[in-house]
Amino acid sequence: MSVDDRFTQDFRDTAGEEPLGTRNDIVTGPVSDWATDFSHVEPEWSADPYPIQDELRQRCPIAHTERFGGGWLPTRYEDVAAVAYDPDHFSSRAIIMSNFRPPLDEAPVGGSPPISSDPPFHHDARKLLLPAFTKASVARQEPATRAFCHSLIDAFGDRPVVDAATDYAQHIPIRVIADMLGFPPEDGPRFREFVENTLEGVNQEPDERIERMQQLFDYLLQQIRDHLDHPRDDLTTFLINAELYGSKLEADHVAGTMALLLIAGIDTTWSAIGASLWHLAKTPQDRERLVAEPALLPTALEEFLRAFAPVTMARLVKEDMHWHGVDMKADDWILLSFPAANRDPAQFDRAGEVVIDRKVNRHAAFGLGIHRCVGSHLARMELRVALEVWLERMPGFSLADPSAVTWSAGQIRGPRALPLRIGG
C-alpha cells in the first residue's frame, strides 16, 4: 500500500488562510422589478419562472440586478448563446451565482474543473473525463439503472399516492453516480444534503456556506483515502491515477472534479425526471400517447428537456465592457438561463407549449459551446430509463394535489414534492 502524499493533509489544513475573494451584502425579499432587481432564489421565480422570463424577453431582454453584488440575466436565445460561445469575455471561475466571488487567481482551473475552468486549461481537464461519459460508456450503466427503477416501484407497494420526486426521481441519479464514483450506496441521503448546500444555499452567510462546502470535501477526502487503500474500477480511482501534462492531478483537482460529478449529476437529472412526470401527470393526452407509442419517447424526452430545462449556469464578466446594449462591469455575474433560451419564440415555434412530437429541437438544455454538459449522455439514459419503467409499470397517474407540488430554488429547477395518484 503506497502512500500518496497528495492526500495526507486535510483540505481544511491546506486551505490555511481562507481565500480572499469578494463578498457582498446578502439581499433577500420580494423582487420590486424583474428588469432591475431579479433574483432566481425568490419563491415567485422557483414557482414559475417562465412568465417572468417571457415578459423580460419582450421588455428588457438583458435584465439587471444589484443583488449578489451585481449581475445580468439575458433571456434571448441569441444572447445566451453568445455568452456561452465567448469564454474570452465570460469566465467560468464561478458558476453558481451567490454572494461570494472566488479570487481571480483561481482561473483558469477553478474549484471544480472542468466546469469551473477557462481555456486553455479547460480543454485538457475536460478531455480526461470525456471517455467515461460517452454514450457507449454510459450504456453499461443501463441494466443496473433499469433494475434499480423497478426496485423503487416495487417498494411503492399498493400505496394510492406516491411522491414521484422523493420516492422515485431523486434516488435514480444518486444511485447511478454513487456507483460510478464507487461511493457506498447507503450514503445517498448525505449526497442530497451536499447538493442542497451547494445549489440552494446561495443566500447563506458565506462562512456558513464555506463550512458546509468543507463538509463535502471532508467526505470526498475520506472516499479518496479509502480508494487509495482499496483501488477499484471506478471514477474515483481513475481520477486519483489520472495524469495531466505528465503529472498526477493536484489533490484539489481530484476532489473538485469528484465534487462536480457528485453535485452536477444528482439535482439536474432528478429535476428532469420529476418535471417530465409532472407534465405527464397533468396532461393525460400526452401520457396516453406515450403509453401507446413508446417509440416516441426519445423525441418527447428532448421536448421535456427543452421546455423544462433544469439547469441555469453562471459566468463572471472578465472586464468592463459594453455588450449587446448594456454596460457590464468586471466581476458582474451573468445568470446564463438555458431555460429562458429554450423558450425564445425567435428560436422555437410554439415555444411556450410542450409538443411531444417536435421534430426539430435544437435546444440548449445541456448548454452550448465548450462547456456542454459532460454528463448529458448519462442524463439522457437515466431520464429515458426512468420514464420507460414508470410508464410500463404505472401507465395511469395524475397529480394528487396540484397545490402540494413544490419546486427547488436556485439554478437547478425541478419538483421537490410531487404527490401522484396512481391508477385511473
Binding site: P119, P120, H123, K127, L130, P131, F133, T134, K135, A136, Y245, G246, S247, P298, E302, K359, V360, N361, R362, H363, A364, F366, L368, G369, I370, R372, S376, H377, R380
Partner: protein
C-alpha cells in the same frame, strides 16, 4: 526545477510546444513571456532553452506542431479521393470557426511583420506550404484534373491566400453560409479544370465541423446509420460521408437538431 523524473526529452519538447501553442494563441507573440511557457509546461527556463533557441523558434515550431493542418487531415481521412475533391473539402472548412490554436498562424504572421527573427523561419514555413501545394497542383494537372496551362505556383499562391485569409476574417467578423460558399468553390474549381464544369452525380454528402461539434450526440442518436461517436463522444460521419439513397431525410433531421450547427448536408452537383 530541472527535468521531471520519468519524462523523456521528447515528451518535454512536446509539452513545451503544447503550452507554447496555447499561450501564443491566447496572448500573441509580444504578450507572451518565455517564462510563462516554461511554467505552463512545468519546466525551468533553462530546460526550455535546451530545446528551443529563441522565442521566435518556439513560436514557429508550435505553429508547425499545433497549427491547423486541414489538408493533411483531409488527405489522411481519405487518401483515395481526387485532388480537386480534397481541395474542395478543405476549402469548405476554411470559413468556419476554429479553436484557439487555429488562429496561431495569425499571431505568427503578425509577429513576422515586425520581427525579423520570426520572419525568417516563417518564410521557410510558408515556402514549404507553397511548395507542397504547387506539387499537389502539378499532380492534379498530370492527372487531367486541372488545366495544365495554369501556373502551379499561382494556383498554390491562390490557395494560400484563401487559407491565411480565412484565419484573419473569422466568422465573428464576417460569416458566409456554408452552402453558398461550397457552391462558389465548386464553380471556381470547375473553371480551373480541363473540361470546363464537371457533370457530377447528385450525391448528398455530410460533414461535421469538428471545431464546432461539442459531442451532444444528437446526430448519432437520430441517424445511427450515418453518424457514430468517437472515443470522446464527438460525432463522426460514417464512411466518406456520402448519404445512401433513402437516408437523405435522416441526414437533414440530424443536421437540423445539432445544437451547435456543426453538421452540413452538401448537395453535390
Amino acid at each position: 526545477m530541472g527535468r521531471i523524473a520519468g519524462v523523456t526529452a521528447a515528451e518535454t519538447r512536446e509539452r513545451l510546444l503544447c503550452a507554447a501553442a496555447d499561450i501564443f494563441a491566447e496572448r500573441g507573440y509580444d504578450g507572451t513571456r518565455v517564462a510563462d511557457i516554461a511554467a505552463a509546461a512545468g519546466v525551468s527556463n533553462g530546460a526550455l532553452y535546451a530545446h528551443f533557441a529563441s522565442k521566435a523558434e518556439l513560436l514557429v515550431q508550435a505553429l508547425r506542431a499545433h497549427g491547423r493542418r486541414l489538408l493533411a487531415e483531409a488527405f489522411a481521412a481519405d487518401p483515395d479521393r481526387s485532388i480537386t475533391d480534397l481541395l474542395l473539402v478543405v476549402g469548405r472548412w476554411l470559413p468556419r470557426r476554429r479553436d484557439a490554436r487555429g488562429y496561431l498562424v495569425v499571431e505568427a504572421l503578425l509577429a513576422a511583420r515586425r520581427d525579423e527573427d520570426v520572419a525568417r523561419p516563417m518564410r521557410t514555413y510558408v515556402g514549404e506550404r507553397a511548395d507542397m501545394l504547387a506539387d499537389l497542383m502539378r499532380a492534379a494537372q498530370a492527372g487531367g484534373e486541372l488545366d495544365p496551362a495554369l501556373s502551379p505556383n499561382a494556383l498554390a499562391h491562390f490557395c494560400l491566400l484563401l487559407a491565411m485569409g480565412s484565419a484573419l476574417i473569422s466568422p465573428d467578423l464576417h460569416a458566409v453560409g456554408p452552402r453558398e460558399w461550397a457552391a462558389l468553390l465548386a464553380r471556381v474549381v470547375a473553371g480551373l479544370g480541363t473540361t470546363g464544369p464537371q457533370d457530377g452525380s447528385d450525391d448528398v454528402k455530410l460533414q461535421i465541423d469538428t471545431d464546432r461539434c461539442q459531442g451532444h450526440g444528437r446526430c448519432y442518436d437520430l441517424a445511427p446509420a450515418l453518424f457514430g461517436e468517437d472515443d470522446e463522444g464527438y460525432g463522426q460521419v460514417l464512411g466518406d460521408g456520402t448519404v445512401p439513397p433513402g437516408k437523405e431525410q435522416d441526414a437533414r433531421l440530424a443536421a437540423a437538431n445539432c445544437p451547435e450547427r456543426a453538421i452540413s448536408v452538401l448537395e453535390e452537383q
